[in-house]
Symmetry: C2
Subunit: 271 residues, 2 copies
């Protein structure tokens, strides 16, 4: 029998897929990756695990309600417990609950779609949005993630990060060219970040999705640490970059407002 020295790390881009729960999460990700119910065998094909192992994982995850099994179609899909957990997560680890009134107000004021985003592990995650025209309903719902280097909010956040945090984050960028306007190297991005840092706002010039542009500004917390960003997004069929620039004061005002609220807020002192 062949002894394979499986010292982790080999294939997966994850630096160190740690322990059993790490593997379990990988399986969960695999299911999520399909974006639709999947059969056991489909998963098996794309899985590094042998049948029995994968089977046990699915059993466990299902038992934990992180997955759900549909007997009639014999497929697995993500379980509702995730939605449930996320509800709590959203409430306790995003600034969405705090910022909601300002997001609302800003959306009302400018009459365009407003996004609230945070950064996590090098990627941007949208935690709230308002007044989306039904047209791009699909983009950026709460929970949606996007790369940092090619979105307005992402660049706004990167530009205001501390040196080392930014470096770490930049390492994690793939610099995939989503559109002809996308930055493809950290060099070109860095010069823009510099400019953003001076300017106070970032623009997305159809870098992530053709036809979509936005203006974004960072939300700073205690001692000027970026904790998120707000953006006003629109489509090129309706507005130009110049139109967006007109929203700059309103945007900055909202960011400042959120900052203030976030500043004051303390979680109830522990008993």
């Amino acid at each position: 029998m062949i002894k394979v020295t499986r010292r982790g790390s080999g294939m997966n881009s994850h630096v160190k897929s740690d322990g059993t729960v790490g593997k379990a999460m990988d399986v969960l990700d695999a299911v999520a990756g399909f974006g639709r119910p999947v059969r056991f065998s489909e998963l098996l094909e794309h899985s590094p695990h042998p049948k029995a192992t994968l089977y046990r994982f699915l059993q466990t995850l299902t038992h934990q309600r992180l997955l759900a099994y549909a007997p009639e179609t014999q497929t697995y899909h993500l379980g509702l417990r995730l939605v449930q957990l996320a509800h709590t997560a959203w409430g306790q680890s995003s600034l969405a609950p705090l910022a909601a009134p300002m997001v609302e107000a800003l959306a009302d004021e400018v009459g365009e779609t407003v996004h609230l985003a945070q950064i996590d592990n090098g990627q941007v995650i949208f935690v709230d949005k308002r007044r989306a025209s039904p047209m791009f309903e699909t983009l950026a719902q709460p929970g949606r993630v996007a790369p940092a280097f090619c979105t307005g909010v992402g660049k706004a956040i990167l530009a205001f990060m501390s040196e080392e945090r930014r470096d770490r984050a930049l390492q994690q960028q793939a610099f995939l060219a989503y559109t002809p306007h996308t930055h493809t190297s950290s060099d070109s991005l860095l010069t823009e970040l510099d400019q953003i840092a001076r300017d106070g706002v970032a623009f997305d010039r159809e870098e992530h999705q053709l036809g979509i542009i936005s203006i974004a500004a960072p939300i700073l917390g205690k001692s000027d640490r970026v904790i998120g960003a707000l953006s006003i997004a629109t489509s090129t069929t309706q507005n130009t970059l110049e139109d967006l620039t007109a929203f700059r004061p309103a945007l900055l005002r909202s960011c400042a407002h959120v900052r203030q609220v976030a500043q004051d807020w303390q979680f109830p002192a522990h008993p």
Copy 2:
């Protein structure tokens, strides 16, 4: 201690906290339970695990971004990866995406708050809502869970479940008296369910929260299996049960509509 003598399947919630990932999830739940950032030691107190073990779990979970650690305050809180996963879960395992237009339309028509809920493991989980008056914004956001036995949607779903699925679900009810109007035994509940099954709609008569009432109806899927429920909720200060009854036709129409859409929908055939 609830003694459930049940043969075969399921077993109660998670008495049988299986394997390492089960324990990890318990820890996650513990953090979620606090509903606010927690210190290591706080968790330790409420944890069955010794220091070292708990520590390792927190490390792992944090590394997996299911938890996040805030160095300045030295606390753990749920990680954004949950929000991210939930986004996918919501899209692929809830009927919210399909039903959204009908929820919207119904809310417009009746001018009251509309909830869309599903059942999972004996509890009701809200997956969408529209037109909440800011007054009870807190109640029933997507991801929120509530007991089945004392909510409109819960009872509507229970009433239309298959015998054995219902029995299983009833086992999982705690029959806690949230208000003076709450059912406190499965007997009294069963007679009402019977009545609901005949009537087609269920009422929440301030059983979960004083001042909140609702009318709810089940959404049926293939071969009359309940797959969720819609409800129209309001507060006693604004409407009476009779007012709600007036919405019955609209509600049933919406449910039928959702059913039809859900019926037709198939996930893309596997390649």
